[in-house]
Amino acid sequence: MFRFISLALALALAQLLTAPVGATAQSLQNILQTHQDEVLKPGRRTVSVVLDDLVASGLPQALPFLEAWRDREIVQRTSDGLFFRATGEGASFILRDLDTDVALDGAEQLDMKEARPNGGVRRAIGDALVQFRLSDPDIAKRQSAVEAIARSMEASQLALLVGSIETEADPAMKKVKIRLAGMLGALFADTIAARITAIEGLTGDLSVDVRGALNTVLTSTPQVSMALPEDANIAAVLAIGEDISAVEAYDRLVSADLAPTLILNNDIHTALVANIQGDAVGGVPVAALDTDAARQVAYDTLAADGIVLARVTPDAQAQAVAAHIFYLQYSETNPAITDVARKVLTAIETKVAVNQSIDLGLDALSLASIYFLAAIGLAITFGVMGVINMAHGEFIMMGAYTGFVVQQFVVDYTLSILIALPLAFAITFGAGVAMERLVIRHLYHRPLETLLATFGISIALQQLAKNIFGTQARPLTSPDWLDGALVFNDVVAISYIRIVIFVLALIFLFLILYVLKRTRLGLEVRAVTQNPGMAASMGINPDRINMLTFGLGSGIAGTAGVAIGLYAKVTSEMGADYIVQSFMTVVVGGVGNVWGTLAGASLIGFLQKGIEWLNPSNTLAAQTYMILFIILFIQFRPKGIVALKGRMAAD
């Protein structure tokens, strides 16, 4: 009822906009004076009288009045009962005439009574205003009105929305309105044919609200009866044991008052406790009641005496369930509509599934690029040089903290990231070179001990970072233009940060390939890793090359740290989170080959997302199964996906 009134009001107001001002001599104040009490203390019922009259008057000043009324700015002067719009407090208190909007001089706060519409009334006024704004010249207001309709989705909004489509000037807004009108039409159009047309118009729309609207059309409620009703619109008949368990089915019978309530063990317990006489219940001694069988005997005796309800035997249960038919019934009575809606929804869901797998692929790709970034430095230090650097993760951490520190000094985030990337490379390159010179150089002939020494460095660096930066996560803020996501449609989207990480991963891949295959340094690195003695006799200084190679790997880890820091939180433990996965990536991919690392990262990334997709609620389980898979994989391909052949492969 109320909605209808506000609809009529809004329609009238909409017409008002174009009507010439002052078409009637009537003033707003006069109308309000005839409804003094309703304006001052409106109730859900009484407000309609005022609204009706306001609509009938066709006054343009009714709209600002409604807004003021809703915002509790309308006051009444006690002396003469006139209404005004009041703003401000104390000295800045101003009264304005409702018809002319002229400020009154020398108004005092004291002799004013405030109009206090309650929540329900204010919402009603608000609704009316929202619908009115559908034709507001300001596009932002139209936008918010459309959004409000999309949130509430009521039958009354349909006609209004459709009416506003024709005059809509903005093409994008027009599209939004048409789409929304389609959804409203699917739910509320007057004729069946109109609803079917509206539903068919939704075909192929992937958005969640369209699916929601279709699901609303297809709402069904579980029913139970002896036989299927002829006239009902049945969604599905439920098979006992498949769609619905026998226990659930019986529960439904009980709640539909078609069968007696089950007596559960708890009920038996309560009934027995309530009926203890002396030291026995129903002829069974209390001490003997420690099995379910004894309790049932005692309970049955009580039931035979008529003290408690008789138990329902399993047979009776099964019979009751078998005698009834359980089905889902559509709330919508017309089968033609539900058929069309179901067809359209199925088509949409198929399309959604396809798009979801594309989205999953993108997710997997970005996870793979993160693994690749984390592991690419290792591909050089571990893969090419064979040094097990447990502090690799800490180089990633150092890079991320470099980014954080730079942001403390350079406020422009774009600039700070651009500074941080080379700076992180420089710092971790230096740290890597220092570590190689001081520690690793002395351990080339004892590879397993490198693991221990670098682990020592790792925990020292971690604790050092904790002492300097504290234990809480530090933010590495990405520039504004990296916020948000590249949206393909309602299902497929990828955030810009992930795209950047992917691009960075590609850049690193080609950079490293270029350095290793096309430069003098790369040539010397390969020579030294293949045969240090021979390389040395050719005039290459193996010490220098090892140092530079290790520095390069560390520097890349640091640069990757900046990128990872944008995506994950920067903590002193962030390196440790990646170290095991990084080693696995390199080992799975195949040691000594950058392409192998790429293959390993892709395998792990896609595998993890794939397993997550099978069991979305449990990412821990996905990681567990992924590691188990890797363990098995290495059994069958101990040298990794891209295995070196020939002399290079010999250890």
Partner: protein
């Protein structure tokens, strides 16, 4: 000439004797005898340290003697702890539940009791049903069997797969690390059936011994740990001393050559890997009742790396080295992180050891690896050489 086992290995007698004297001394000085020089909590720390020494000698055998750098032996340690923890938790909850159900007007049925226990134990992860892995939790004997069976089975399967395909060196280390990481991640799940992140708690209370004071229980576990360490030491000393020991050390030094001599290298490795896994499981089963709580974090990869570090610091390839390393580093760690060490005031900065201990520890790993590759145990060589 055939010499006796102890004549070949004089150090074994020394270690056993030291351990015996130490055990008796701690017992006499504890609260139990009324002397109360050593507090109950410190007795527990010492008992836990003995368990860590036990897993350290297992690690030494597998790494120092056989050359397999396993970074996953704490997984077996944790499994042992979980196996015994399940019984401790189940039996204790059962006692509590039966006590509280006895107050009802009518006696409880078996299903009521087991429901109530399930609620008590699994309520924290939002469940009340017993997962299948708890099938034997009501029997101490079966759970003790699990302490041995589960680690040995896991080690057998994992070892067979890995050694068969000749995964060696660094690859094997990373693989074992992946194994313990997978176990930790599995246990972290709420539906793993082992209370997820919460782990098992209240393990310090031994069911059926509710009236016995913690002082007595701690001494019992301390003595048990000492006996286990002694027995484990004897076992490993025996394994690595005979002909088998020579083969094992041969595998460490040159696997291919041993294989060409006709030995089935994989079987030896598998045997060593499995036996040490069992000992690790037993060590865990003794450790966690003294610690009182076990959670998935205990089997995270870093624990196993620390284990390797203890052995390296103590000195690889000598069993007493592992004992010294584990005891030295873990006791020193608890002294520093427990606030026992005095802070150093540099005037401009106060070094608080709770913050800086790990930095010191990490750097000393580096120093020891670089300058004392034989570890603390290497010092004994110097002594022996001077005497001779």
């Amino acid at each position: 000439m055939h010499r006796s086992f102890f004549a070949q290995n004089p150090s074994v007698l020394w270690v056993i004797a030291t351990l015996a004297v130490f055990t008796v001394a701690v017992t006499l000085l504890s609260e139990v005898t009324g002397v109360d020089v050593i507090s109950t909590s410190f007795v527990k720390t010492l008992g836990k340290t003995l368990c860590l020494c036990l897993i350290a000698i297992a690690m030494d055998v597998v790494w120092g003697y056989c050359g397999i750098l396993s970074l996953g032996h704490f997984a077996f340690f944790g499994i042992g702890g979980y196996a015994i923890g399940m019984w401790l938790m189940y039996a204790r909850t059962e006692v509590i539940v039966i006590e509280s159900l006895a107050k009802q007007p009518i006696p409880a049925t078996p299903s009521e009791i087991s429901d109530a226990i399930g609620n008590q134990i699994f309520g924290v992860v939002g469940s009340s049903n017993f997962p299948w892995i708890w099938a034997f939790a009501d029997s101490l004997i079966l759970q003790l069997l699990m302490v041995i069976l589960v680690p040995s089975l896991l080690a057998l399967v994992f070892g067979w797969l890995a050694f068969r395909s000749r995964v060696t060196g660094v690859y094997l280390s990373i693989l074992t690390q992946a194994m313990t990481l997978a176990l930790a991640l599995y246990l972290f799940q709420n539906d793993s059936g082992l209370r997820g992140n919460n782990g098992l708690s209240g393990l310090q209370n031994v069911p059926g011994y509710g009236n016995v004071s913690q002082a007595t229980i701690s001494i019992l576990f301390f003595v048990a740990s000492a006996i286990a360490l002694g027995a484990g030491y004897l076992l490993f000393a025996w394994i690595v001393s005979g002909k088998m020991g020579s083969v094992v050390k041969g595998i460490r030094d040159n696997e291919a050559r041993v294989r060409f001599l006709g030995y089935h290298v994989e079987s030896y490795k598998l045997f060593i890997f499995t036996v040490t896994a069992i000992v690790a499981g037993i060590a865990g089963a003794l450790y966690y009742p003294q610690a009182g709580i076990i959670n998935p974090g205990e089997v995270a990869p870093i624990a196993s790396i620390y284990l390797a570090v203890w052995v390296a610091i103590g000195g690889r390839g000598r069993l007493y080295g592992a004992v010294i390393g584990a005891a030295f580093v873990s006791l020193l760690s608890s002294w520093f992180t427990g606030g026992g060490a005095p802070n150093i005031n540099l005037g401009f900065y106060v070094i608080q050891w709770t913050d800086w201990w790990l930095v010191l520890l990490g750097l000393s790993f580096v120093a020891i690896t670089l300058f004392f590759p034989k570890g603390i145990g290497g010092l004994f060589d110097l002594l022996v050489r001077k005497q001779s």
